[in-house]
């Protein structure tokens, strides 16, 4: 087990991403943040705070639960269904640029489900993807627009993002594998 990002590094990385967001979008007008449950939600809230500090403007922030859109839900006879939690998007996404936030980008299947779910809420002008860690091994043609850290991994390793709001501390840990 090794710590690949500590609390300071995570903080600096999110600040950097916030600046990139402002630069690329020439401000924060028309932007909204949507965090993918579970750990995308506190990340989206932290980015919203950084964006307010940088620009003085509030960016609407929501939470998306993708369970009902998972591609493995009805394909496999898996028995008990995973728990569904609330989606909270209390603003119109029509004609906004949506910044979709997740902790780890891996196969891309969660992002695919999140895109399908978002489209059911309206017709955004654009969707951009923000991830704290990109660990590779994509199974779908999906790419992040903002990456906190590119982390080459093998499929038998696991990447765990721990956040203060949920886990009591901030760190990214790489676990297992042959090495």
């Amino acid at each position: 087990m090794s710590i690949v990002m500590d609390a300071d590094r995570i903080g600096r990385t999110l600040t950097r991403i916030a600046h990139e967001i402002v630069e690329r979008n020439k401000g924060v007008d028309e932007l909204a943040l949507v965090g993918v449950r579970t750990r995308g939600v506190p990340l989206a809230r932290r980015l919203a705070r950084s964006l307010r500090e940088i620009t003085g403007h509030d960016v609407p922030t929501g939470a998306l639960d993708i369970t009902l859109y998972r591609d493995d839900l009805m394909r496999l006879q898996i028995g008990p269904q995973p728990q569904v939690r609330r989606t909270e998007i209390q603003f119109s996404i029509d004609n906004r640029k949506i910044l979709l936030v997740d902790d780890v980008l891996y196969t891309g299947r969660t992002t695919r489900a999140a895109l399908d779910a978002l489209i059911d809420f309206g017709r955004p002008k654009a969707i951009q993807l923000i991830v704290l860690v990109d660990r590779g091994h994509r199974e779908l043609p999906i790419k992040a627009d903002y990456v906190g850290k590119n982390l080459p991994t093998s499929p038998d390793e696991s990447v765990q993002v721990r956040l203060l709001e949920i886990d009591g501390q901030d760190e990214v840990v790489l676990d297992g594998g042959a090495a």
Partner: protein, 325 residues
């Protein structure tokens, strides 16, 4: 910087490890809480511009109704459609039942076409248990005789929890035809399991003799039942099941037990008035109460869809749900 709302509450049970929903009797308090939590997520789906999620894509649900029903059947059908299931409605008038086919034969013939779930409403208590034994499909009880109506009790609990935040410690008073009511049997089991203080009230002829066995207070003195109540639930006087003379007249029933504005003043100032429908206005409830500010009767109907979506979703894992237990 961490706030309470940031921390995800982790419930003790995260899935329903059972094939069927036959009654509240089978459910633990944690399982009831899981259904209610899931229903909260499902309620949000109904507020979206596109009120549909792909969760039950490719699943077939048969709504098999041997008794008339508007609310429950429509509610299940909307819930199924919002989850993208394929639905099929079979009502008595148009089925082979009128040609003398038994319930078991009807069910086995439907099974042969491999549906995934069967929602059953039947006039005989225990009809769902029979189907549960002979069918591989998940069976959801939509009301069996005078036995149980679990999804009604779950939606009632959901509606109470939405307003009062929790069920424990509330005084819930149920007034009406207690004897013939499956809604009562499901509700008293659910409410007592969740820690509510349950009172039931009606004419002595309509109080089941063993009702106190469920840990509820029973009385025929309506003022005693209503005083300081947080929730008052009125049950329909089931005129079609009244084969004997249970009370002198509907007018007298209304005078003694009917819920009126003046009677309501005995309850807590923020009392909720509930009715599972269909209402007999001027018998168990006065119109000014049914349409008044304390009434949540239409909220109950709206919440029914969310609660049924939760039950359908949680049971959609099929027979493997039980094997995983």
């Amino acid at each position: 910087m961490t706030t309470a709302s940031d921390i995800e509450r982790k419930p003790p049970v995260t899935s329903l490890r059972r094939k069927d929903l036959l009654g509240i009797a089978d459910l633990s308090p944690d399982e009831i809480a899981l259904v209610l939590d899931t229903a909260e997520a499902m309620k949000e789906v109904g507020t979206r511009p596109i009120k549909k999620v792909p969760a039950l894509r490719g699943k077939t649900v048969v709504n098999l109704f041997f008794e008339p029903s508007t609310r429950t059947r429509t509610s299940f059908e909307i819930a199924e459609k919002r989850l993208s299931a394929d639905t099929l409605n079979i009502a008595i008038g148009t089925s082979s039942v009128v040609k003398g086919e038994t319930l078991a034969d009807t069910a086995l013939n439907l099974e042969a076409m491999s549906p995934d779930m069967i929602v059953l409403r039947h006039s005989s208590s225990g009809a769902c248990h029979l189907l549960s034994r002979i069918c591989r499909s998940a069976i959801i009880n939509a009301g069996d005789g005078m036995h149980e109506h679990p999804t009604q009790a779950l939606l009632d609990a959901f509606t109470i929890r939405e307003r009062k935040k929790q069920l424990a410690g509330l005084k819930v008073t149920i007034i009406g035809d207690l004897l013939h009511s499956r809604v009562l049997r499901s509700n008293i089991q659910l409410l007592t399991k969740m820690g509510a203080d349950v009172w039931v009230c009606g004419p002595p002829t309509l109080i089941p003799t063993d009702v106190r066995r469920f840990g509820v207070q029973a009385t025929s003195i309506v003022d005693e039942a209503i005083v300081d109540a947080d929730v008052i639930m009125l049950l329909r006087i089931q005129l079609e099941r009244m084969e004997g003379a249970f009370f002198p007249s509907q007018r007298e029933y209304f005078r003694v037990f009917g819920m009126t504005e003046s009677r309501l003043r005995l309850a807590k100032p923020d009392v909720m008035i509930m009715h599972p429908g269909p209402m007999n206005r001027g018998v168990e409830i006065a119109s000014e109460v049914a349409d008044g500010p304390y009434s949540v009767i239409l909220d109950q109907v709206a919440n029914g869809v969310a609660v049924r979506m939760a039950v359908l979703y949680l049971l959609s894992g099929g027979a493997e749900n039980e094997e995983a237990a």
